[in-house]
């Protein structure tokens, strides 16, 4: 296996692991939203500004989970493509070797067609991989966007929390946990993007 193939396998595998962490965190946000909603309900008028925010947080968490689920399916496709490309590259190399070893054989020329065919299907695979990586990067970008939005909401939540009297602390804790979660998502997705960006379609 070449270093290039190895790092491709690692890049694809790392997406899945980073994303499963994102999934956990997104679920935490969803929980924080439910928690916040309950507190805001109890706080009544004092947390009036907070109530729409909790719906917003919840919505954001749901969308993130959905996105990540889709990306995971995509990552699996990418993994299969990587395996496929690895096999096709191996075949192409063996065919070339066979053609070289067959030099001087009566039917050596008949190897040309399999060699050409293997080269084309290997290149097809490589192109497909690059296309899919570009798409995946687009989807990861959407998750980043969500994470950034979540941080803005967290900041707003803090402001709203400051007006919630005795509920200040618990609402601030909600804002804190949303902010932390958004941070984690941002970092993990960023790592995915860096791992993949070298394979993007130029």
């Amino acid at each position: 296996m070449t270093n290039q193939t190895k790092s491709q396998f690692i890049a694809v595998a790392s997406i899945t692991s980073e994303l499963s962490a994102v999934m956990v965190v997104a679920k935490e946000i969803s929980l924080a939203a439910a928690n916040a909603k309950a507190i805001a309900f109890r706080a009544g008028d004092k947390a009036k500004g907070f109530q729409p925010i909790t719906d917003f947080i919840n919505e954001l968490a749901k969308e993130t989970i959905e996105l990540v689920t889709n990306i995971n399916i995509y990552a699996l496709v990418l993994y299969r493509l990587t395996v496929d490309e690895y096999q096709k590259t191996a075949a192409y190399n063996k065919f070339e070797l066979a053609a070289k070893m067959a030099e001087g054989a009566v039917y050596a020329k008949s190897m040309q067609e399999p060699v050409d065919h293997a080269r084309l299907s290997m290149q097809d695979c490589q192109r497909q991989f690059k296309r899919d990586v570009s798409q995946l990067l687009g989807q990861l970008e959407a998750v980043m966007h969500h994470a950034r939005a979540a941080r803005v909401i967290a900041a707003n939540s803090r402001i709203e929390a400051s007006q919630a009297g005795e509920y200040l602390q618990s609402l601030q804790a909600v804002a804190e946990s949303v902010d932390k979660a958004a941070h984690t998502i941002h970092d993990n997705v960023q790592r995915c993007r860096i791992a993949l960006s070298i394979y993007r379609n130029s």
Partner: protein, 242 residues
């Protein structure tokens, strides 16, 4: 890769083996090719490591598009782990292999090649005017295992039965049976699990007209050495590891 023509008639049998480029840590194998005017059958085409030298060797005898048939006596990697590569190289080929191994062998990838399952009681492979018989040899050593008999060439290809492990430059035929025995004993005792299967197989094979007994490893047996081998194998206790 050394090539030896072992039959020349209306069709040919060629033995390929003693590959000098083979990595030291993989087992040495013999591959056999049956060549008719427009078709070519590879018997136990070998491991993935052997694909390129094997393909190159076959190209001395047939063009790629005339390699129409592969046969795998059983599921072992030294027999057929090259399948995934043949699958990408051949556009119109069949793999004749034991039915019970289909789900296993497909792990090597068998998409463009058609898998022709051989039922437990055997069958035939028709190669133009040549008809080869697939002789059941289950539990010798694999639980799903076939040998190939060519009644015209009087060759019986016996897979792992008759195998021996030799120096890379060893001759292709046994020339001193008594000396050869020691190279076979442990392999047969350890790899062959069933005395009963062995007895049934020997009974069957004794009734065949055989000039050459052609194993997948080591040397071939010719003439009287065929009978000597059967007698020796008959008397051997196998399945010793339990």
């Amino acid at each position: 890769m050394k090539m030896t023509k072992i039959y020349e008639g209306s069709h040919q049998w060629i033995m390929f083996g003693r590959d000098e480029g083979k990595p030291d840590n993989i087992i040495d194998t013999n591959q056999y090719v049956v060549r008719t005017p427009n078709r070519c059958l590879l018997l136990d085409p070998g491991g993935a490591e052997l694909f390129a030298p094997m393909m190159a060797a076959v190209l001395h005898h047939a063009p790629v598009d005339q390699i129409t048939d592969l046969f795998a006596s059983h599921q072992d990697p030294d027999v057929i782990s090259s399948l995934g590569l043949w699958d990408q190289a051949l556009t119109n080929a069949k793999l004749h292999a034991p039915a019970i191994w289909e789900g296993f062998l497909r792990h090597y990838s068998c998409e463009s090649i058609e898998y022709v399952p051989i039922p437990d009681n055997g069958g035939t492979i028709k190669l133009e005017s040549v008809e080869l018989q697939l002789i059941p040899a289950h539990y010798l050593h694999s639980p799903g295992n076939f040998h190939v008999y060519d009644p015209q060439a009087k060759i019986l290809m016996t897979g792992d039965v008759g195998a021996a492990f030799e120096a890379p430059d060893a001759p292709v035929f046994v020339d001193n049976f008594a000396a050869h025995v020691e190279k076979m004993r442990h392999w047969h005792q350890r790899m062959m699990p069933s005395n009963q299967a062995k007895r049934v197989w020997i009974e069957r094979v004794r009734n065949m007209d055989i000039d050459i007994l052609a194993p997948q490893h080591g040397r071939m047996f010719k003439g009287d050495d065929v009978k000597r081998f059967l007698d020796w194998f008959d008397a051997l206790q196998v399945g010793i590891a339990v």
